[in-house]
């Protein structure tokens, strides 16, 4: 669009035609106050705070609904405007309860800030305030009508943003009230977006309300540890008996990929971290029972058993299972520890997507993977399989937002009517289990059509869909774990021929990181085969075993046969996940690192209580390949990081930890320690200070940054900007395979997590909040609810 030149407060500025005055002002650093205006949501013009003077217009105009016009002369601050805003606040405060001293929003309330700025300090109002009792709408949503200023942000973010439409407005005039969809309660996705977006304390969180004051918390921006989308979450923590307890999660600073989005898990399910079930000290099995021990004794025991097995049975008798939740550094360290210190390739993890097949299919092609940000802007999106609303809430948000704001064309291909079909320009309901066939079909295999057509999808419609997809030139193709092996290859070949970009959907917060870091028996970090010569072979100071190791299921079989003498499980619960008979592991010495006494931990010989992602530093990679930094937000007395545990085990075994972790610089030997207890976390705080000053703290063998150095140096595509990473940005990394080997990947080993919006694997079971909101929520089949509140009708020009 053409540009328009206007003058705001004497400043000449040029902005694209159609820009709203409020945004034009913002672009030149002039903040026009508002309650109801919210970027990306429909226009309201309701709060009248953004009134400005426009030359030649007799009345004050709302900057939020007025598009710029050529030659417009605007004043944003004058006595007249100040008075208008002041009086608006006086009016708002008339019925506002002014219970700021106990209000959750106190201290971070837009009404407070605005009142402070415009000085509506004196109240002229002398009559009874309207009152309504507070209501609890769900375990996590409370509503206080008296505090509500009716900015309609909650209604819009719930409807337009979340496509849930669970909030409405009822009555009129001063009786107008925000209402939940089930008269006295809410049935919704419990995302809490309404609470987060509320400028005052009208909507408050059941998990947080009346717990603390905002200024009493330490706020840390880190990455959510539930699904694989990599939302930034700002965790508010305060002191507690057990350390620093996280009491709130939000993303008001909009610093991450997710903007202001968080789902129920990101917002509330941090509370597993202070679950009563948390392990606080190492346990060893004595007389068939797990009893507390000291860290030293635990490490000694583990080291001695590892050494014993190595001596008597050799490295092949040891197996390692890694995690989808631990950091890249920990994953990398774990496989390095396995391959070098233990000398085995018997390492695997719970695979939730066929990343190896994906990497292989991409064949090193650069710029072929899409970041989560790309989903927000893509002109067209093809989604095959998966149900992002449940399993990838941020992805679903990005898709919805893109469709809503940029009119992206969405193609949904699924065997059942997932909620995102409501945003779809085209929805093809294929026969169950035919996702792979669909990939083959669009890649040219007409024979595949037989398996794809369904009562809801004719052969003609299928063919038309393929024709339409062939015309798309800037497609982002997103596929779930339904697609594996050759089907991924077929899909990627189809897309690459049309400059498409891809996203392969895995589950859990660092499943992609686990895959990239080589938690595979046959692949090194970067998906290179263990047998062929790679930079790892030349760089690492020890020899890498040349033959592929056992995968997870093979390890279990070996254990059953008594051939697996020791099993080291880090942050995983294979017994429950793969439904393995615990007896199968009775002949193995089992070491488990976990937060909880999981099904697998219960049968272990040693259990090490560890920190979770919210209690440590490091990096994680989202399923799209967006790498982000973890910052320590909470602290739990008695636990240690997985990283530290691995290093300590190696050290206790007598392995030179410097070979594992290249820590320390020239002459730097200061061990920052990782002392735990009342003053725990000092090293991390130090690390935070250093990173804030763009210094890299890698002075101890427990320092993940040192490991990151090596990852950046050796793992393909991880040579990313450290500065961007440290400053909290997401940095996209392509999926580059280290060599062009093909035929890798074991589709049969992929086991999707099948989490819903309200579950999160083993972790979710320990979140009290998640369990309370886990009502039987199913996506409502009310497609026209979208039309029920038509934002376009309220949209300005």
């Amino acid at each position: 669009m053409a540009d328009v030149t206007l003058i705001v407060d004497g400043k000449k500025l040029t902005v694209p035609a159609g820009t709203l005055l409020i945004e034009a002002c913002k672009s030149t650093g002039i903040e026009v106050p508002s309650f109801c205006y919210y970027p990306g949501l429909s226009l309201q013009g309701a709060c009248r705070m953004c009134l400005v003077e426009v030359e030649k217009m007799p009345k004050l105009q709302t900057a939020c609904t007025t598009p710029v016009a050529e030659g417009m002369v605007v004043t944003t601050e004058s006595d007249k405007i100040k008075q208008a805003r002041k009086s608006m606040l006086e009016l708002l405060l008339a019925n506002h309860p002014l219970d700021c001293p106990v209000c959750d929003a106190g201290g971070e309330c837009e009404l407070q800030d605005m009142t402070f700025k415009y000085g509506a300090a004196e109240s002229k109002f002398m009559d009874m305030k309207n009152h309504r009792d507070e209501q609890q709408w769900s375990p996590v949503v409370y509503f206080d009508r008296p505090r509500c200023i009716l900015c309609y942000r909650c209604i819009r973010v719930c409807g337009e943003g979340m496509d849930v439409w669970a909030l409405g407005i009822q009555n009129r005039g001063s009786s107008a009230i925000i209402a939940p969809n089930k008269q006295d309660h809410l049935e919704c996705e419990e995302c809490g977006m309404c609470i987060d977006i509320c400028p005052v304390g009208a909507l408050t969180s059941g998990a947080y309300r009346y717990k603390t004051r905002p200024w009493e918390m330490k706020h840390t921006g880190t990455v959510c540890t539930h699904c694989a989308d990599g939302c930034k979450t700002t965790l508010g923590a305060r002191r507690a008996d057990t350390g620093m307890q996280i009491v709130r999660g939000d993303n008001r600073d909009k610093s991450g990929i997710n903007g202001d989005f968080l789902c129920v898990k990101g917002r509330y399910a941090f509370d597993f971290a202070h679950s009563d079930c948390r392990l606080k000290q190492p346990l060893v099995k004595r007389d068939g029972k797990l009893v507390p021990t000291t860290w030293e004794q635990a490490f000694e025991l583990i080291a001695s058993r590892f050494k014993q097995v190595l001596t008597t049975d050799g490295p092949a008798a040891i197996g390692i299972i890694g995690s989808n939740h631990t950091s890249n550094e920990e994953n990398y360290l774990l496989q390095k520890f396995a391959r070098l210190a233990l000398g085995t390739n018997n390492i695997d993890h719970h695979r939730t997507a066929d990343f190896p097949a994906f990497a292989s299919a991409l064949a090193g092609k650069a710029e072929a993977t899409a970041s989560m940000r790309d989903v927000h802007n893509a002109a067209a999106i093809l989604l095959i399989g998966n149900n992002p609303t449940e399993q990838h809430p941020l992805l679903a948000w990005q898709i919805r937002t893109n469709v809503r704001l940029h009119h992206s064309k969405l193609y949904v291909v699924n065997s059942y009517p997932i909620k995102l079909r409501r945003q779809a320009a085209s929805f093809a309901q294929i026969a169950p289990g035919s996702e792979g066939g669909f990939a083959q079909f669009i890649a040219g295999s007409d024979a595949a059509a037989d398996s794809i057509v369904s009562p809801k999808l004719s052969r003609e419609a299928l063919a038309a869909l393929r024709d339409a997809l062939k015309q798309e030139t800037s497609l982002v193709i997103i596929f779930g774990s339904e697609l594996r092996g050759n089907d991924v290859k077929a899909l990627v070949d189809f897309g690459l021929a049309r400059s498409a970009k891809f996203i392969c959907l895995g589950d859990y917060s660092n499943s992609r990181g686990a895959a990239d870091m080589g938690l595979y028996p046959d692949m090194l970090p970067g998906y290179g085969p263990v047998a062929s010569a790679t930079t790892f072979h030349t760089d690492w100071l020890d020899e890498i075993p040349a033959t592929s190791g056992m995968n997870l299921l093979q390890m279990m079989d070996a254990a059953k046969e008594g051939k697996l003498k020791a099993l080291y499980v880090v942050g995983s619960n294979p017994i429950a996940r793969y439904n393995i008979d615990p007896f199968a592991l009775s002949k193995s010495f089992v070491i488990v690192q976990d937060m909880f006494l999981t099904e697998t931990a219960k049968i272990a010989d040693v259990v090490l209580p560890v920190a979770n992602a919210y209690e440590k530093a490091g990096t994680v990679t989202s399923t799209c390949g967006d790498v982000q930094i973890l910052k320590k937000a909470g602290d739990f007395a008695g636990v240690r990081t997985d990283f530290e545990c691995i290093v300590r085990i190696a050290a206790t075994m007598g392995y030179d930890v410097r070979k594992l972790v290249p820590f320390g610089g020239e002459g730097t030997r200061a061990d920052m320690g990782q002392s735990r207890g009342a003053q725990s976390g000092e090293a991390d705080r130090h690390a935070v200070w250093l990173s804030e000053h763009n210094l890299e703290p890698k002075m101890s063998p427990f320092d993940p940054s040192a490991m990151l150095d090596e990852i950046q140096r050796l793992v393909p595509a991880y040579d990313i900007s450290r500065l961007s990473l440290l400053s909290g940005q997401d940095v996209h990394t392509q999926l580059v395979q280290i060599t062009g080997a093909t035929g890798l990947g074991h589709p049969e080993l992929v086991l999707p997590a099948n989490d819903t919006l309200f579950t999160s694997g083993t972790l979710g079971r320990f979140s009290a909040t998640l369990n309370t909101v886990m009502e039987r929520y199913s996506s409502p089949v009310e497609p026209e609810m979208v039309a029920g509140y038509d934002p376009a009708a309220r949209q300005g020009p």
């Binding site: 013009g45 008075q83 009016l91 708002l92 009559d127 407005i169 001063s174 009786s175 107008a176 300005g796």
Partner: protein, 435 residues
């Protein structure tokens, strides 16, 4: 039932067929019915609009926007269907004129909608009538059905090749829906909350299509203008204020009623001559000349010609034609309270100043009128109203603020007489006022 009145000074145009049984289609045809629309078909859109402009007809809903000009804003070409919407949501306190039109001359509204549709190229017209007027909804539905039955509306009207549908639509109780964009929302099945403007309805209206929205009286005037010419109509009134107007005379008058008088007719004469003056024993305290939303005029301000421009000059507005005459036995604070209660009840609640301001004004006046007032309440009320003025999302906020300001400005003494715990000097506090 609403009875009809008459006075020699009346110039009957819109009310020409009142009392003549014109709700019957045959009778309407005898009284020149459906001639105008046939003439309009031969004239074509441009000529209709030219005639409308020449008539100097201004919107009878209250704002007084020139009707011809409003129609000329409708784009000739539109990818979306165009609509004509008759605003029969008559709810302005003091106003009861559209009711008579619907009752006595329903076909004139249909004909008005038809001509408006022809002028802008609309294929569908809606007649929105407030829900309380159920008997009028029924009369209109019957009239529309009669017109369909004769082929006056529907396919190929009068052999013109033009298709035109008209539907009657009932409201369900909301003053705010009288605001044209809220009216559209309501017709679309939504809460009657006004829309952001621009775009104006003439460009983006019902379901996104260009829409002409006119008051029922405005539309009922149109056939007469087409038949007799715009100039004829213009000459009935004053410069820039064409034609006649239905004035609804209410209050303690000897002969209250709805009178059709030329625009610019003297207000004082309207009260003392046309309406027979105040009933015995009462004298005039003030006049609200255009429905409850406008400023009060004191007895020495009423020697004014009743057209949009002259009344504005006199410090009030012609508004909806509802002339409410206030007698000396009415307490102005009580009157103000009733007005404030109305706007508090009818505010849609969308924007802060109207929602909170009307609530605040009502609460203050309830307390004030019951003897709980303090001196600064008076200035606070004025401050409040002044700060609502011109800053609300739609004109309802202004409508609530303007009269209150005028009562305080012109009758401050009466407010002061309520101070210091004194009971209302006029009468006991009405209990109903406290709810």
């Amino acid at each position: 039932m609403a009875y009809l009145v008459s006075h020699p000074d009346e110039v009957k145009v819109v009310s020409r067929r009142f009392g003549l049984g014109a709700a019957n289609l045959d009778r309407y045809l005898e009284l020149d019915g459906y001639k105008a629309v046939q003439k309009a078909i031969t004239m074509g859109p441009d000529a209709i609009i030219t005639e409308m402009k020449a008539s100097k007809l201004r919107g009878r809903g209250g704002a007084g926007f020139p009707t011809g000009m409003k129609r000329s804003f409708v784009p000739k070409q539109s990818p979306k269907p165009k609509y004509v919407l008759c605003n029969g949501d008559e709810s302005e306190p003091g106003t009861c004129k559209d009711r008579l039109i619907f009752e006595h001359d329903p076909h004139s509204v249909i004909e008005g909608v038809m001509i408006a549709s022809l002028a802008v190229g609309a294929k569908t017209g809606f007649i929105y009538i407030r829900g309380e007027y159920r008997y009028l909804v029924e009369i209109m539905e019957r009239s529309v059905a009669d017109a369909y039955a004769r082929g006056f509306i529907g396919k190929n009207i009068f052999g013109s090749g033009i298709d035109l549908d008209i539907f009657v639509h009932s409201g369900a109780g909301a003053y705010e829906v009288g605001e044209e964009s809220a009216l559209m929302e309501s017709l679309e099945g939504k809460r009657g909350v006004p829309r952001i403007r621009p775009p104006f309805p003439a460009v983006v209206g019902l379901w996104g299509g260009p829409t002409v929205i006119n008051n029922a009286e405005t539309l009922a005037s149109v056939p007469h203008i087409i038949l007799n010419g715009g100039e004829w109509f213009a000459n009935l009134g004053t410069p820039r204020n064409g034609g006649t107007r239905l004035f609804c005379m209410s209050g303690e008058l000897e002969r209250p009623g709805v009178y059709e008088l030329p625009m610019g007719y003297n207000l004082k004469k309207m009260i003392y001559d046309v309406s027979g003056g105040m009933i015995k024993g009462k004298s005039l305290k003030g006049v609200v000349p255009g429905g409850s939303s406008v400023q009060i005029l004191t007895p020495d301000e009423i020697d004014v010609g009743m057209d949009f421009d002259q009344v504005l000059k006199a410090g009030s507005m012609l508004g909806s034609g509802g002339v409410v005459v206030i007698d000396d036995q009415m307490c102005i604070v009580r009157f103000a309270l009733r007005v404030a209660r109305f706007y508090q009840h009818e505010s849609c609640g969308w924007c802060i100043p109207c929602r909170e301001g009307t609530d605040w004004m009502k609460k203050t006046l309830v307390r004030f009128h019951s003897g709980g007032g303090v001196a600064k309440d008076i200035d606070n009320l004025k401050y409040l109203a002044e700060n609502m003025l011109g800053r609300t999302f739609c004109p309802l906020g202004d409508a609530a603020a303007m009269p209150i300001i005028s009562y305080i400005q012109k009758f401050r003494k009466e407010f002061e007489d309520h101070l210091d715990g004194k009971p209302c000097p006029y009468e006991k506090v009405h209990e109903a006022a406290l709810v």
